[in-house]
Amino acid sequence: MTDAATSIPLILMTALSAGASLIAIRPLRPETQSKAGSGSSAIQHLFVGAVALGSITVLIVRWLGLRQSWSPVESHVDGLLLMCALFAGAVLFIQRRPKLRGLAAFALPLLTLMLLWAVCASLWTYRPFNLASIASAWLVFHTVSTYIGLLSCAIGAIGGAMYLYMQRRLKTKQALPGRLASLETLETLIIRTATLGFVLLTLSLLSGVILITRNDTPDATPLGADWWLSPKVILATLAWAVYALLMNVRHATAFRGRRAAWLAIAGLVLVIATYGVVEAIEKREAAADSTAVRVFNSRCLDRAPGCHTTARRAAVCERTWTAVALAHSKPAYGPVVWHPKWSPPSTGRAGKGVTSCAS
C-alpha cells in the first residue's frame, strides 16, 4: 500500500507544514516587524491542525486497509505518520502556550522534514517491519518507547535551536519581536524533554538488548555476534549518555546555556543516526538477499496455493523477505501454510537471511 492513498496526502501535508513554517518564521526574522497578524496565526493553526488530523487519518486508513495484525504500525511510514501526528499535536500545544511563543517557528520546519521523510519512506524506501516479531511484546514496547522518546528528543532539540537563536539575538543586542519564550523557559523545556527522553531511551535500550539477547543463537542477531560493539548500540548509548547529562545540566553547570542547547541538538542527531545506521545495515543485507528471496518467494507462491488466500497478503509477500521467513519457519502464524515437501532455500545467503528473520 505504497500507493497514492498514502503518498498524495503526505505530499499535501508536507506543503501545508511548509506553509505553516513560513508563516511562523516570518515574524522572527530580524528585518521584519512584530506585526504577527491574528489572521496569519489562525491560518498557521489551521494548517498544523490539518497535518495532525491528516496524519492520523492516513495512519488509520492504512491500518484498516492493510490490517495484518493488531498493531497499526506495520511499516516505517506508519511509524513516521504516528510521529508526525504526535508532533503536530505537540506543535498545536506549543502554539497555544504564550510562554512558548516563537517555538513553533522552530518546530514546524522539523515537522516538515519529518513529513518529507515519510514521503520518501512511502515512495521509495517502503519497508514493512519484521512481521514475525510483531508478535513480540518486547518489540512493540521497543518501538513505542523509541518513537515517543524520539518525539521528546525532537522537542528538546527545537528548544535547543530556539535557545541558540534567542541567545544570539540577545548577545548581539537586537531587539526581539515582543515577548518570546525566554531562555529560562527554553532551558526548562530542554531539561524536561531530556528527562523524558532519557527515561524512554533507557526503556528502549533495555528492551532492545532483551530483543537481541533473547535469541538462543546470538550469532544470528541482526546486529551480529558482537552486538554490544555494533555502531547502533554504541550510538544509542552515546545518545543515552547525552540525555543523562542534559537532564542534570542545572547541576553540571559547566554545560549550562549554549552548550546544553547544542547537546540537545546533538542528542537528536545521535538518536536519528542510531536509526539510520540500522537502516543502512539492514538495507545492505536486504539487497544482498533480495535475489535469493525473490526466487524463494516465487517458488513458495507457485507451490502453496494457501499463499493466495488473500491478495493483499500476497502483495506484501512479494515485496518483503520477512514474509518468506514467516512462511518458512512459523507455520502456525499467518495464512501461509508451509508444505513439508518444500525444499529449504537454495542459496546460503537467503538461508541466513531467513533464519535471522525468523527469530
Binding site: 530580524p30 531587539a175 553547570t253
Partner: protein, 456 residues
C-alpha cells in the same frame, strides 16, 4: 519680545559636563531668583534633568540678558568655568528656541524617542519658575502650548507606545531571558534618577529581592525606603554595604549599574572569579552609566548578557522601523503647534505695540492741539467748540492714517511677516518693548501671578 534658550544636553555635552551643571530644585530656584534680581524684566524657566539643563528666557527686545549673559549666569550658579560652559552649551532664539522646547516636551529630543518622563520634568520646571515668580504671559503661553502639544503628539502618533523608556526596554530584554522573577535577585549599583527609574520598572515584575549598593550608604538607605514605600507585592528591598558588591554579583540575576565613577566599577579581573561560584546561572547586566561602569569584555562571557545605554537605545530603534514615520508626523504636528503658539505670542506682542503706537500718536496729536489752541487763542478766535472739532479732526486723521497698516497687521494671514512689521514699527516710530513682568517689586514672591497662569 525675544525668546532665548541657552543650555546643554546629551547631544552637546558629555555626562561629566552635564552633571556639573545639573541643578536640583533648590539650586534652580536660586538661579531664577538671581536672574530676576539682575534682569528684572525677563521671564525665565529652568529645565534641569539628568540629560539636560536648559534655561528659557523671554525678555523685551532691546533689554538684557543676551545669550552670553545667560551663560555667565549659569556659570556663576553652577561653578563651572565660563569658557568650559561656552564650549558645551548651545543657544537658540525665537522660533528655534520655541521649537526646541516643543521637541523636548514631546520626547523627540530625548535619548529614547518619545520617553514619557520628560513631560513631567518640564511641567515641574514650569511650576518651580511660577513659584519663583519668573513666569510671565509669554513663557506661560509657550510652556502651556508645549506641554499640550507634547501630550497631543504622544497620543496621536503613538510615539510613546510600548517600550519607550530605557528602563522598560531593559525589562523587555529581561523578560526574554527570565521566565519569572519571583525567585530572582536584582542588585542595583548607584542610587540616582536612572537607577530609580530602572528599579521602578523592574519592581513591576515582582522580583524576589532587590538589593541597593551605593558608595554613600545614606543615599542607598533613602532609596530603599522610598522604593519600599511604593512597592506592591512582597519584594524584599534593602540597602547593602559597598563591600558586599562581590557577594551581590554572585547572588544576583539582574544587575543595574549607574554610578558617576570615571573608572569601571566591575572589571573583568574582578568578575571572572565570580563566574564559578555563580554556577553559570544567566546574568543580565544593565550598564546605564556614561562612562561605563561595567567592562564591555564581561559581555562576551558565557551566560552573561551585558547591555549599556547605547544598546538599549539601538534596540528601541531597531524594533520600531515605523518610528521614523511617527517622528515625521510628530515633528509636523509640533511645527504647526509651535507656529500657532508663537503666532499668538507675536499677536499679543503686536497688540501691545499698536497700543503703544496709538498712544504715541495721540500724545503727538494732543501736543499739536495745544499748540493750535494757543495760536487760535492768540488770534482771539478760540472757544470750546473749536477744541472739540480739533480733537475730532486729530482722532479721525490718526485713524485714517493707521487704518491701512493696522488692517494689514490684523489680518490673520499665516504668511504675514509679523516679526518684520513689529521690528519696522519699533524702528520707524522709536517704540520700546514693554516688559511683561511687573518690574517694581522688591520681593518676587509678592508679585501677583500673571493672569491665567495658575494652571497648565
Amino acid at each position: 519680545m525675544r525668546l532665548l534658550m541657552v543650555g546643554l544636553n546629551h547631544k552637546t555635552a558629555d555626562v561629566a559636563s552635564r552633571e556639573a551643571v545639573a541643578m536640583d530644585a533648590g539650586q534652580a530656584g536660586a538661579l531664577l531668583r538671581r536672574l530676576r534680581e539682575r534682569y528684572a524684566a525677563a521671564e525665565a524657566v529652568l529645565i534641569s534633568t539628568c540629560n539636560r539643563t536648559e534655561l528659557y528666557v523671554a525678555r523685551p527686545v532691546h533689554a538684557e540678558p543676551d545669550a552670553e549673559g545667560v551663560r555667565r549666569l549659569l556659570a556663576e550658579q553652577s561653578g563651572v568655568a565660563y569658557e568650559k560652559l561656552a564650549a558645551t552649551t548651545m543657544h537658540r532664539e525665537q522660533e528655534q528656541a520655541a521649537l526646541h522646547l516643543f521637541h523636548v516636551c514631546a520626547g523627540l529630543d530625548s535619548m529614547v524617542l518619545g520617553e514619557p518622563q520628560v513631560q513631567g520634568q518640564v511641567r515641574r520646571a514650569y511650576e518651580l519658575a511660577q513659584d519663583q515668580g519668573t513666569v510671565g504671559p509669554v513663557l506661560h503661553r509657550l510652556f502651556q502650548g508645549a506641554v499640550a502639544a507634547g501630550k497631543q503628539a504622544r497620543s496621536e502618533t503613538g510615539i510613546d507606545a510600548g517600550r519607550t523608556s530605557v528602563s522598560s526596554v531593559a525589562v523587555a530584554f529581561a523578560r526574554n531571558i527570565f521566565d519569572h522573577f519571583n525567585d530572582k535577585t536584582i542588585a542595583v549599583i548607584g542610587a540616582g534618577e536612572m537607577i530609580k527609574g530602572a528599579a521602578h520598572a523592574l519592581l513591576r515584575e515582582r522580583p524576589g529581592r532587590l538589593w541597593i549598593v551605593n558608595r554613600s550608604p545614606q543615599r542607598a538607605t533613602d532609596l530603599a525606603q522610598r522604593l519600599a514605600g511604593q512597592v506592591e507585592g512582597d519584594t524584599q528591598i534593602a540597602p547593602r554595604p559597598w563591600a558586599d558588591l562581590d557577594a551581590l554579583l554572585i547572588e544576583a540575576d539582574i544587575v543595574v549599574s549607574c554610578t558617576g565613577a570615571n573608572e569601571p566599577v566591575v572589571r573583568v579581573d574582578r568578575f571572572k572569579p565570580l563566574l564559578k561560584p555563580r554556577r553559570n546561572r544567566p546574568l543580565f547586566l544593565i550598564d546605564m552609566a556614561v562612562p561605563r561602569d561595567i567592562d564591555p569584555a564581561i559581555g562576551a562571557m558565557n551566560n552573561v548578557y551585558l547591555y549599556n545605554l547605547d544598546d538599549l537605545q539601538q534596540a528601541v530603534g531597531v524594533t520600531t522601523d515605523d518610528r521614523h514615520a511617527q517622528r515625521d508626523r510628530c515633528e509636523h504636528l509640533l511645527n504647526a503647534a509651535c507656529a500657532r503658539c508663537m503666532g499668538e505670542i507675536r499677536h499679543r506682542d503686536l497688540g501691545a505695540l499698536v497700543k503703544q503706537l496709538r498712544t504715541r500718536l495721540n500724545t503727538i496729536a494732543d501736543e499739536e492741539q495745544q499748540r493750535t489752541q494757543r495760536k487760535l487763542a492768540a488770534q482771539g478766535v478760540a472757544n470750546d467748540r473749536h477744541d472739540a472739532v480739533i480733537r475730532e479732526h486729530n482722532h479721525r486723521l490718526i485713524n485714517k492714517i493707521l487704518h491701512l497698516p493696522l488692517s494689514q497687521l490684523d489680518r490673520t494671514d499665516p504668511d504675514a511677516p509679523l516679526g518684520f512689521y513689529a521690528a519696522a514699527l519699533r524702528r520707524l516710530f522709536d517704540l520700546e518693548d514693554e516688559p511683561t513682568l511687573p518690574v517694581s517689586t522688591d520681593n518676587p514672591h509678592d508679585a501677583p501671578p500673571p493672569a491665567g497662569s495658575s494652571t497648565l
